[in-house]
């Protein structure tokens, strides 16, 4: 404990000395965080300094081994670092799929050469990654993917189309699933491949959603030449790598929908309840529309109950239990809660909740409407609710096929 306290003191001192003042209090969300990459832009100049200084210490990836550019911190130390950054209102110096997805995957499945080539560049924010899994014909049934990679000497020639490749238009490299053995049974002929987006033959087209602009893209590969040494794990064994990454993605989604801290006491009114009080008026201290009020209470209560469930899983993990079956419900329930909440928000707005842009609607009302539209995809992306329910029925309840 004493050692940890020393570490805390030293960390805080270092942070105080090295964090540029203009980054304090910056939000850490997708829109405003620093994704790095060859074409990185910095809205706040200090962010670049912040990245360089933190990367030098290995603190863009605090828990990764030092030899690959990480901080080599023990779990306790990493927690302290995170706590001190929160306390000082410092945003992470770097975010993105390199740190959260392909990095951990390479640490587990990459060979030494791959680790040396990629991890350091990730830690230093030099390369921005994107993910190439889904295809137009392979959604829920991911293993039916058809993008083919044909061996040609020391290369693969990759041809096909990936969709839902988030930020592909801004990424430098993509990790992709390709079919290397068309004769093999579905999962068996798939390979996990790393591809430089600058390779000739790759084209990217952003996808417009019903809610407007989105980070999603469609990415075409037309005879793209990729060295065989970019295969992660083994040829035709990419499904193993993909599965481990998918599970990771789903729990990230649950976290992103606020499951993480919702078990905590909520000191103030939910945003929904306070919107309803503001828009529907107040009758003797209560939201004036009693029917909507009942639905809002249900939503708030379910959110709290879900928060307790996430906390239970975390407390169990802390106590060293293996992840229990309860975690299988996170993706489906977190997204449904969000979808219900967005629906209740527009219902509360009533005539103010159907604006697309321009006069007659406030910015905040327009955002609420767009978020409602966007939320309809929550139960689709990252594994549809139907697939999640199948998984629960099969793996948790043991119901027969």
């Amino acid at each position: 404990m004493a050692e940890l306290e020393t570490f805390r003191r030293e960390t805080r001192d270092w942070l105080l000395k090295n964090a540029p003042p203009d980054i304090v209090g910056l939000p850490a969300n997708d829109l405003e965080g620093n994704w790095g990459g060859r074409r990185a832009t910095y809205a706040v100049p200090g962010m670049k300094t912040w990245l360089l200084r933190m990367a030098e210490r290995g603190w863009t990836a605090p828990s990764w081994p030092k030899e690959y550019g990480g901080g080599g911190l023990a779990p306790g130390e990493a927690k302290v670092l995170s706590q001190e950054m929160t306390r000082l209102r410092l945003p992470p110096p770097l975010i993105g799929f390199g740190l959260t997805m392909i990095g951990p995957t390479l640490l587990q499945y990459g060979n030494e050469e791959q680790k040396r080539e990629h991890l350091g560049r990730i830690c230093r924010g030099e390369i921005r990654w994107c993910q190439g899994y889904s295809e137009p014909g392979a959604g829920s049934d991911l293993a039916s993917l058809q993008t083919k990679a044909v061996r040609d000497g020391d290369d693969f020639i990759v041809t096909g189309t990936k969709i839902w490749t988030s930020y592909a238009d801004k990424a430098d490299w993509i990790f992709a699933l390709v079919r290397t053995d068309p004769a093999a049974k579905k999962q068996d002929g798939i390979t996990f491949l790393l591809i430089d987006m600058l390779t000739p033959g790759i084209s990217v087209r952003p996808i417009l959603l019903i809610s407007g602009k989105s980070p999603f893209c469609e990415t075409h590969f037309e005879s793209v030449r990729v060295p065989v040494r970019n295969v992660v794990h083994k040829i035709n064994a990419g499904w193993t790598v993909a599965k481990s990454l998918l599970g990771h993605e789903r729990s990230m989604i649950a976290d992103a929908f606020g499951g993480a801290g919702a078990g905590q006491r909520t000191a103030r009114l939910s945003a929904l309840a306070s919107l309803a009080r503001e828009r529907l008026g107040d009758a003797r201290g209560q939201i004036a529309d009693p029917v909507l009020r009942d639905r809002i209470a249900l939503e708030d209560m379910d959110t709290r109950a879900f928060g307790f469930t996430v906390q239970r899983a975390k407390d169990g993990a802390k106590a060293g239990h293996r992840p229990g079956p309860e975690s299988s419900i996170f993706k489906v329930y977190a997204t449904e809660l969000n979808m219900r909440r967005r629906e209740l928000m527009v219902q509360t707005l009533g005539p103010s909740g159907i604006g697309w842009e321009g006069p007659g609607f406030t910015e905040s009302d327009l955002e609420t409407t767009r978020e409602w539209l966007r939320s309809r995809g929550n139960s689709i992306e990252g594994g549809t609710s139907e697939v999640q329910l199948n998984i629960i029925a099969k793996r948790v309840l043991g119901l027969p096929d």
Binding site: G139, G350, I354, G360, T369, E386
Partner: protein, 380 residues
């Protein structure tokens, strides 16, 4: 009332379906939207609809109408709803036109209804205000009495087809406070009247709507529709009728959203089989179908109630609107979910149906509002 289509109505339904599939695919709505078309609908198509006699359906022969009723109107609106046709039926025929039909003097009717029937005139009603929500009687716009008539001042929102309307029926308060049921009067305000300011709005369904600002707009006695201070009841009756028409359109939209989804279920293959073979989706599809069938029966009943001047019309208007609002949203949501990722893209049409379903739900009051009204009218 009999809940079947007569032979004439069947024929009309077929004509409408053919017309819509030939002239009005959803791609038309997309083009108008993407081009930010200044009119927002096709004047040509509107004129063709007039020639087919559709705009005159609910109007008497004396003004050039067909002297038919809402049973026929519903058939046409359902067909138009299938491909989300954005022509100004709701504003012109169902709001402005009905106000004049039910409350206008002979002189007023003679001036306005023939051009409506001919497709030469766009009308609308300006009734919603920032604080209205769904309460038609909550009106802050004032009409101050002057020697030569009135001066209208106030703000109206989401006035359907407001920026292209030749005249607007404005609901204004001639007496009483903002929440009083009585004291409302309907005025006809012509395009370009001094003090009238119209700003186009953009809603998720990309149909025409506008903000209307009235700054002392002068109207003479001949522009009052119906009795002074008694416009509330007249306008509520018009909205009940318009609601039935809107629901016919909603029925068509949900029908098409469901049909395209059922088709997708049969063709989209995952895990080696069409996804429509998965029982969970089957059962949900069957539920969509049930909601659709109940909505259809209710639309038919409510339309016939309009034609019979049925004393239960207000209840049935609430019944049909609550039902079509809920069913519309359910079906649109399920349509997107069952289409999966592509359903979320702007490239696919199914999102247009969700957006229209939401706007239609809000128009004239959502399901919860109409359940409350039904209960009130039922005496509980």
């Amino acid at each position: 009332m009999e809940l079947i289509l007569t032979e004439d109505q069947e024929l009309l339904a077929k004509t409408a379906a053919d017309f819509v599939s030939e002239h009005s695919p959803v791609s038309r709505v997309r083009k108008l939207r993407d081009a930010k078309d200044p009119v927002g609908f096709s004047k040509e198509l509107w004129k063709q609809m007039a020639e087919l006699g559709w705009l005159g359906i609910p109007f008497p022969e004396v003004v050039g109408g067909a002297g038919l009723g809402f049973a026929e109107l519903a058939v046409v609106l359902e067909a138009l709803g299938r491909t989300l046709a954005p022509e100004p039926f709701l504003s012109t025929v169902l709001l402005g036109g009905q106000v004049l039909l039910l409350g206008g003097t002979e002189v007023q009717q003679k001036e306005w209804l023939p051009p409506v029937v001919n497709g030469d005139c766009i009308l609308t009603a300006a009734y919603q205000e920032p604080q209205t929500r769904y309460d038609l009687r909550r009106v802050a716009t004032r009409a101050d009495r002057k020697a030569d008539g009135w001066r209208l001042s106030g703000e109206k929102i989401q006035v359907l087809d407001g920026h292209v309307a030749d005249a607007l029926v404005v609901v204004a308060r001639t007496s009483g406070g903002e929440h009083d049921a009585k004291g409302l009067t309907l005025f006809l305000v012509r395009k370009g009247a001094p003090g009238l300011e119209i700003t186009r709005q953009s809603r998720v369904d990309s149909r025409n709507a506008a903000l209307v600002k009235l700054s002392g707009v002068a109207v003479g006695p001949s522009e009052v529709i119906g009795a002074v201070d008694e416009g509330g009841d007249l306008f509520e009756n018009v909205v009940d009728r318009a609601t039935v028409g809107l629901c016919a359109e909603m029925l068509g939209s949900m029908e098409e959203a469901a049909a395209s989804t059922f088709k997708y279920l049969k063709t989209r293959v995952q895990f080696g089989v069409p996804i429509g073979s998965f029982q969970a989706l089957k059962h949900r599809a069957a539920r969509m179908y049930i909601e659709l069938e109940l909505s259809r029966s209710t639309v038919m009943a409510a339309a016939r109630a309009v034609d019979e001047d049925h004393p239960e019309l207000p209840k049935l208007a609430s019944l049909v609107k609550a039902r079509c609002s809920d069913a519309g949203i359910l079906i649109a949501n399920e349509a997107i979910q069952m289409h999966g990722g592509v359903g979320m893209t702007d490239e696919y049409d199914v999102g247009f149906y969700l957006k229209r379903a939401r706007v239609a739900e809000i128009t004239f009051g959502d399901a919860s509002h109409h359940r409350d009204r039904w209960a009130r009218l039922s005496g509980y």
